[in-house]
Symmetry: C3
Subunit: 153 residues, 3 copies
């Protein structure tokens, strides 16, 4: 911990926009490595302690913290097809058939998640990954904003 | 960016409670203009950099970041009627028929969202709006708490 | 409020991991008292103003802010059984039957929520409680990380 005797501080806010290729099929993309790279790149005079926010500035994508690589990412996309069917029920119509569902997705899978940062690492559980959830097949490249409110940098 | 050479700081926490008229029908209310007004009103010695939290202190409403004005707000309310039907399945019974669904809503559409603030503006995507989602027809007026953890104010 | 005339500050980040017994049945556990105890335990030279993050470092649980003790917690578990059925549709298979649903839960009920802290207390509405939502019957004890970015401590 830094010496806060004179002026206890939060060393500030750091924010960066990264680009993620999501391709032309609905997908779940693991952002954990990119988040760790962002934190490692901050340098500073000690490991950061604070809160990391992962925000997707798009109206047809969300962020989920789930296990990846064991079927759950596919299970999530299947569940979303069931909960928000890609049919003609939606008033919002343009792009691919059923695209209106993509615009409801962020209400159920929000585009923002905040994660504690301890010792410069996201304080995730063993099986947790930070994931971009994108059912929109019309936008192959997405932006993701990583922001840290940190105690030491 | 402020000169942090002497005392790098987060200039503090700013929180304000605003009132939103939601009326007596289920509704999605766009809060984006109110959020921008809140940020503009902070003044300070430079544009704020930080994290904005939008929190609804009610047990039957949520906050969603979606596109408005193109049908998706109506689509969201329709999807919620399908996912959380206003029928007699709910153990929590009082107020309007099916009101129990309104108390499950915040588990699916959380009452809290955090959004990065860059240069004094919420770093939203082109089609994103910050929205109050209120399916509860018995509370025509709602409170919303806007809080900013900021680097410069 | 602290005197910020010389060096307006956020007094720092405070994070603590607590243990919650969830037992061997799907459950909603009210964390509000534990959160208040965490805030009370911080001491400091004034009531904290800031943002509290409640984070569950597990891949099969979430955090919801709902009313408890009036049936809505049971209603939430019933709704989740309906939205994410514990059947054999899931690709992720191990543990109890239908366990794959538990791994999709955090995408719908996120493992992270941030709540404003005003005067040292979480700024919850009258009927809001901060709840751990755990449908996983195979993990009777869970960790929850409480983190505060505060203005005065």
């Amino acid at each position: 911990m830094p010496d806060r005797s004179h002026c206890p501080i939060v060393a500030g806010v750091h924010s960066e926009l990264i680009e993620i290729r999501t391709g032309t099929q609905e997908t779940v993309v693991d952002l954990t490595a990119a988040v760790e790279e962002f934190l490692d790149g901050l340098g500073g005079d000690g490991p950061a302690e604070g809160l990391l926010n992962v925000f997707v500035p798009h109206a047809t994508a969300g962020v989920a913290v789930i296990e990846t690589g064991a079927g759950s990412d596919t299970d999530l996309l299947a569940a979303l097809r069931d909960l928000l069917p890609a049919d003609d029920r939606w008033q919002h119509r343009h792009g691919s058939p059923g695209h209106g569902r993509d615009h409801v997705l962020p209400a159920v899978v929000p585009p923002s998640v905040s994660i504690p940062v301890i010792g410069g690492r996201p304080a995730l559980g063993t099986w947790q990954s930070i994931c971009l959830v994108d059912t929109n097949v019309d936008n192959p490249v997405r932006s993701v904003r990583l922001s840290l409110l940190a105690d030491t940098v």
